[in-house]
């Protein structure tokens, strides 16, 4: 009984725990989802409650093309990460650049839509409840897209300067989780704002 080692013997079974990047991003996604839920609830709560025009029926058009671009960017990012896992850095860079291009098209599309709404239809955030909830919900999503784009562009710069290899596939995995989340949120926003809201 003079000394007892604190490690009696190895653990009974091999000790494997989940990856912390993935779990961390999962937690962030849960927290972000809660924020989006509150904005979506506010949108639904105020649907049709505006005291004056313009109404969604009068001014909103379905952004089909940009939606297709954003949703397919999830697929291209998935291919990019898959290529990286197989050490195909060239294919990775190409698919990553495509993803960024599709994301940029989406953001430019939103910008053009907003420009039209503001200068042609005269709808701003202070016009009525529709403007209030529309710009804040779509704007919150667009902010997330922009953050995602900044991260993806950073990855692209690393890749173009030759700093990315197969061992970084896991980090891209975590980043792609975020991007898929942003895309999934768009499905909800699209349904609420452009389908139910009209």
């Amino acid at each position: 009984m003079t000394t007892i080692p604190i490690i009696r013997d190895a653990a009974d079974e091999p000790w494997v725990l989940p990856d912390r990047g993935t779990v961390g991003m999962g937690c962030l996604i849960v927290a972000e989802s809660a924020i989006f839920v509150i904005f979506v609830v506010a949108y639904i709560f105020y649907m049709g409650q505006s005291l004056g025009g313009p109404t969604p029926q009068q001014v909103l058009e379905l952004p089909i093309f940009t939606t297709i671009c954003l949703l397919s960017s999830s697929l291209t990012l998935h291919w990019a990460v898959a290529a990286l896992r197989k050490s195909k850095v060239g294919a990775f860079t190409t698919w990553l650049a495509t993803t960024i291009g599709l994301g940029l098209i989406f953001i430019v599309g939103t910008g053009m839509e907003w420009h039209h709404l503001i200068y042609v239809d005269g709808l701003t955030i202070r016009t009525n409840l529709f403007g209030t909830t529309f710009y804040s919900l779509v704007g919150l999503h667009a902010t997330h897209v922009i953050v995602g784009l900044i991260l993806l562009i950073a990855a692209l710069i690393f890749s173009l300067t030759g700093h990315v290899s197969e061992k970084h596939a896991h980090r891209m995995d975590v980043l792609s989780l975020y991007w898929h989340f942003v895309d999934a949120v768009w499905v909800v926003v699209f349904t609420v704002v452009y389908v139910l809201g009209r």
Binding site: M1, I4, I7, L17, G24, A31, E32, L51, L129
Partner: protein, 565 residues
């Protein structure tokens, strides 16, 4: 027993690095603390920061109590009184309650699960500093609230800031903006720390520590941190909406343009009620560690405790509108929220019974941590019972916004949570500093605190029942409130003296306390196997555990715990 204790292995037997470090310059020490990413230092900074705000919020409470001690008092003006209760509530919830519990979680969780740090050390430091900035901004409003040229004013909209009082028309100047921004920042910090706690617990447990063997403190902090994602984010979202309303002229809560004040109430309490459980679960966590050690028994009903905690986490998400019975939600919603609020008492009751069963038949040692724990058990029970009374909608219609409600939630926050925090201080102080706290002073602290607490908050129920509304800055004589208010004020000052004794004890014991050794309480969780204070790397070699009480197994190799689990 004594033999096995003296031969208890610790880092000192494994690690021969000298713990005596050369004296360093003040600037070096400061630089070390500001740039640190060590979970123990960040935890201590959280706790120190929260203690400062405890004193600030406490002084605000004392000023309010002086004002209310006698009728027709004019110690402070009505405007100042409004700012005082707003700042007191905001400070105590966001800048005292949350940080002190995050501080303990930061310090203890990695030590208890046998990890060397949190999962994301830099995110940890970021979360602390962003929360600290939030607290500073809240108090900066005293200078900048109406611009530097005006007198300056703090927010005065109440801690739940009901719309449309927060709109530009009714709250001009910037004081409400400081309030909103400080809560957004502290919310970001809370979510960062919560992510860290969850990820640390899920991905960094030492070998052998399955979820089923994890200390209950880690379990409850896991539930608490998961609740932060779902509860604090809505507050952040609502504050963003409030800022949009105030700065960009949107109409979320602007009733003139069709906006809804009730929506804010919903959003606030979707945060506000789970928040109560976010504060109380870590308090339960302290009890789960302290009561078994001082009863010399393993915790009674470990799986039931875990299930009850997870149950509280889920149910607490569906009780928020019991704050809103007087809003007029209609019978269906009222019935639902009455029911869900009463249901949540069931898992809480399970916990109380489990603690009692743990004490039952144990060899109880009434050291200061256990004293505060027993105080907690009695007081939390009463707090829960008045909670059930208020959960009944007709009773609530009568007493909502009265001092009965104020007495109820202070019973939870002070009698329940603050008492467990004191217990945790007395219990873990030897681990953090290497020295014991003075037991004599601790007993004075405990009894003064008990007497002061009961004088204040028992008697605060009565003016509430007699119809005294909360948030009034003075009242007329002859309504039967006078004597009760005077007693309440005297009790508040007795509590203040108790807390001064506590602070003296904290500081004095740091220099003069008895040397504690690694394991002064003969406890069973991993943090007591390393040195006091723990080295920066916590454990020289990653420990391996085989049961819920790894140190018991080491101390009693003839009768290890895993035979019984």
């Amino acid at each position: 027993m004594a033999d096995s204790m003296s031969s208890l292995p610790s880092v000192e037997t494994i690690d021969l690095t000298s713990h005596q470090r050369p004296r360093r310059l003040v600037l070096e020490v400061l630089h070390d603390w500001v740039t640190t990413v060590d979970h123990k230092k960040i935890g201590l900074m959280y706790i120190g920061y929260a203690l400062i705000f405890l004193v600030v919020g406490g002084v605000q409470a004392l000023v309010m109590r002086i004002q209310l001690a006698v009728p027709h008092n004019s110690f402070v003006s009505p405007d100042v009184f409004n700012r005082l209760f707003t700042m007191h509530g905001t400070t105590m919830v966001f800048f005292m309650g949350m940080p002190i519990l995050f501080g303990f979680a930061n310090y203890l969780v990695p030590l208890m699960i046998g990890a060397r740090d949190m999962a994301f050390p830099r995110l940890n430091a970021f979360s602390f500093w962003i929360s600290a900035l939030g607290g500073l901004l809240l108090y900066y409003s005293y200078i900048g609230g109406s611009g530097l040229y005006g007198m300056g004013s703090a927010p005065d909209v109440g801690w739940f800031a009901y719309a449309p009082l927060t709109m530009k028309a009714f709250s001009p100047g910037h004081s409400t903006d400081y309030w909103a921004i400080s809560l957004i920042l502290s919310g970001i910090g809370s979510i960062g720390t919560a992510i860290n706690i969850v990820v640390t617990i899920i991905t960094m447990r030492c070998p052998g520590m399955t979820l089923n063997r994890m200390p209950l403190l880690a379990w409850l902090n896991l539930v608490m941190a998961s609740m932060v994602f779902i509860a604090v984010s809505p507050l952040t979202a609502a504050q963003i909406m409030l800022m949009l309303d105030r700065y960009l002229g949107s109409h979320f809560f602007d009733t003139q343009a069709g906006g809804s004040a009730v929506l804010w109430i919903h959003f606030f309490w979707i945060f506000g009620h789970p928040e109560v459980y976010i504060l109380v679960l870590p308090a339960f966590a302290f009890m789960n560690e302290i009561i078994p050690v001082f009863s010399r028994k393993a915790i009674f009903g470990y799986p039931a405790m875990v299930a009850a905690s997870v149950g509280i986490g889920f149910i607490s998400m569906s009780v928020w509108a019991h704050h809103m019975f007087t809003v007029g939600m209609g019978a269906g919603a009222n019935v639902f929220f009455v029911f869900s609020s009463m249901v949540i008492a069931v898992p809480t009751g399970i916990k109380i019974f489990n603690w009692l069963a743990t004490i039952w038949g144990g060899k109880v040692r009434f050291a200061s941590p256990m004293l505060f724990s027993v105080g907690f058990l009695f007081q939390f029970l009463i707090a829960g019972l008045t909670g059930i009374m208020l959960a009944a909608a007709p009773f609530d219609w009568q007493l909502n916004m009265s001092y009965f409600v104020v007495a109820h939630f202070h019973y939870v926050l002070v009698g329940g949570i603050l008492f467990t925090i004191f217990a945790a201080f007395y219990y873990w102080y030897p681990k953090v500093t290497g020295r014991m706290m003075n037991e004599r002073l601790a007993r004075w602290h405990f009894w003064m605190m008990v007497i002061g607490f009961h004088m204040t908050f028992d008697f605060m129920h009565i003016p509430g029942l007699l119809g005294m509304p909360r948030r009034i800055y003075t009242y007329e004589p002859g309504r039967g409130w006078d004597v009760w208010n005077l007693i309440v004020t005297i009790g508040a000052f007795i509590q203040a003296i108790a807390i001064i004794l506590f602070v003296i004890n904290l500081i004095r014991s740091y220099y003069k306390g008895e040397i504690a050794g690694n394991d002064p309480w003969d406890a069973w969780t991993l943090e007591w196997s390393t040195a006091s204070p723990p080295p920066v790397y916590n454990f020289a070699i990653t420990p391996v555990v085989h049961s819920r009480r790894p140190l018991w197994d080491i101390k009693h190799p003839e009768d290890p715990d895993w035979n019984y689990e």
